[in-house]
Symmetry: C2
Subunit: 369 residues, 2 copies
């Protein structure tokens, strides 16, 4: 259910109710601008991933800086964005359920809607839904870029899918998607370059196959915050799907020194118990901050570590000689993983220079269907 916002505009950050999802607006806007500059210089398009932010407000801020549209993973996310005025949305994922496809076809009346397919039955189901609604849906062929999750194998399978899409009067062939999720989180630049290099080769081979069959592939889309510079420079990718760059997290920051973007997302936590010297407990456990990619860091306090998360508690360990923490004191936590952390919260609290400037709903929170 929608929760009440933990803050009001004008409030000081240390008066915000905890836990709360804080956006440092200076850092966030710097990230938006920096990425806009990078993609412009590289001559590629940016279609940021809304799985990170789940907010039409953020989507519009990205569009104002040149983003050509948004990616989503779920039909429910597409609905929230389209209903919030986002005009161009790609579901960067397979959709095969007829009820979900009917919802997408309905959305195609108010926005440009694309989706992915990696199986001829998915293509046929999308065509049936589009025919039934009297619209045309844009379908991209997802190829397995090397991650071994979804995606058709490059070669005859991918080519046949593209031709099947192009042959349908109810579909538009939208290009190919080659997203390498695993590559985003590889630890060294060399590992990421090798993984993305292989993905570029696979994508390029499919583009060439299609050209030989007379099918122009105007869009090759993929990439994430961990790898986008490689895809941008590849000469094969035309569109980048990076999402996390707007907020960043501890996991992405570990992989690049210095990180190319600023940490803009925090979970504000309050100290609720400090029964023994050297320890304290904050009111943000893993229901408030995702731990799938590691525990959060404590921002600005290198002498305090978040050492264990239970559902509603975060256990802190203070280094010897650390300044003690007071009951009620606020701490900013840097999430280990931004996307699922955002998805736990109903509200963004936008802060600048210590004061709450804006509240935004996490409008597609929980839009998992």
């Amino acid at each position: 259910m929608l929760q009440q916002p933990p803050a009001q505009p004008g409030m000081r950050e240390d008066a915000v109710d905890t836990p709360a999802l804080i956006v440092d607006l200076d850092a966030f806007e710097a990230n938006l601008d920096h990425m806009a500059g990078l993609v412009a210089a590289a001559g590629v398009r940016l279609r940021p991933h809304a799985k990170t932010h789940k907010s039409p407000v953020v989507a519009h801020l990205q569009a104002a800086r040149g983003a050509v549209g948004q990616c989503v993973q779920k039909v429910g996310e597409a609905e929230v964005l389209a209903w919030g005025g986002v005009p161009d949305i790609l579901v960067s994922n397979e959709v095969v359920d007829p009820a979900k496809l009917a919802r997408l076809a309905a959305l195609a009346r108010i926005a440009r809607i694309g989706l992915c397919a990696d199986d001829p039955r998915g293509v046929d189901a999308a065509a049936a839904a589009a025919a039934d609604a009297g619209v045309r849906l844009r379908v991209l062929v997802e190829i397995d870029a090397g991650g071994g999750r979804c995606g058709a194998a490059p070669g005859p399978d991918a080519t046949a899918l593209a031709r099947r899409i192009a042959a349908s009067p109810h579909l538009i062939f939208g290009g190919i998607q080659a997203y390498h999720g695993l590559a985003q989180h590889l630890r060294t630049p060399e590992e990421r370059a090798a993984a993305v290099g292989a993905a570029v080769e696979r994508a390029g081979s499919v583009v060439e196959d299609l050209r030989r069959h007379g099918l122009a592939c105007e869009v090759v889309t993929g990439a994430g915050t961990g790898s986008f510079a490689l895809e941008a420079a590849s000469g094969v990718f035309t569109e980048l799907q990076a999402g996390s760059y707007v907020f960043m997290d501890a996991d992405y920051a570990r992989n690049q020194a210095p990180p190319p973007f600023r940490q803009a997302l925090f979970v504000l936590a309050g100290v609720m118990s400090a029964p023994r010297p050297g320890t304290a407990v904050v009111d943000a456990g893993h229901k408030a901050v995702a731990i799938d990619s590691g525990l959060p860091l404590v921002s600005g306090r290198q002498d305090v570590r978040y050492v264990a998360a239970s559902d509603e508690h975060g256990q802190l360990a203070l280094d010897p000689g650390a300044e003690p923490l007071a009951l009620g004191q606020r701490l900013r936590l840097v999430p280990g993983h931004c996307d699922p952390t955002v998805d736990r919260h109903d509200w963004y609290v936008g802060v600048r220079r210590g004061r709450v400037e804006r509240l935004w709903p996490v409008a597609a929170r929980g839009a998992m269907a």
Copy 2:
């Protein structure tokens, strides 16, 4: 934000939109009845933990079977329950923030409200909020039962806290809480018995200390689904806080053979991609099913394993010779951990004999402040 329900009453389960949170109503009701019988036989009271279910509907079903009230971890959860007609609520957690305490004091006008303290400043803050609102708040002393998280040390600290509460005209001394969270998930019965035995000893010593100071300790509350039979038989605990028993999960089921309760909670997932033999991908990743206590199991399919979770994808591995999975096919996943899985969803879909019988909102979902 509140999402649309993934089902309607009367629908067949295999038509429910995915992912969806499924309650097997026969199993759920059997669990409610079984626990009610166990606590009645043991002569203790049951105050189930709403951190699991986050639903006034479930709370009322538990009350109808004799539960004396509910536990919550968060003020926001207390609000949702009180506004939903639950008359007796214990925040089984420290609350030290003045704004949160003011919200609790306001609730004390429509429900019997308790909270925990492990620090004299917490007691004073609760007294100030109660005085300001013109109500009395019930405060329990939380002792460290052995888990080393929150809680005052048994001995002079705990006694002084109890006396401080009892001395305030704005507070009621409500007893002690001795919850051993770590003990719930120890793997063997012997380990759990040793941990709870130590907790019982600590709690008993505090009760005795208080008696010597002329303070009757009418409530000793604690225990969870992993240990409650031990506390129930202790002669020291008067009230059990078990919550997960209503739903169960893969982690609790691993610890007791046969499990004393039935698996009643599932995440229904749909197969969205199956590009290579022996693998498939479902549309429920860790945004839909919590993985902090291990990956989900695939119910009824011992030949299929859920082997990796990304944000929105679950990777399945099929054993050699396994019956293939069809695109669009539904699978019931058994969550590794029920509480945070529930907290990802907006709706319970109550199913009996293959059909949707009821929808309940997860009313306190995201009530983390």
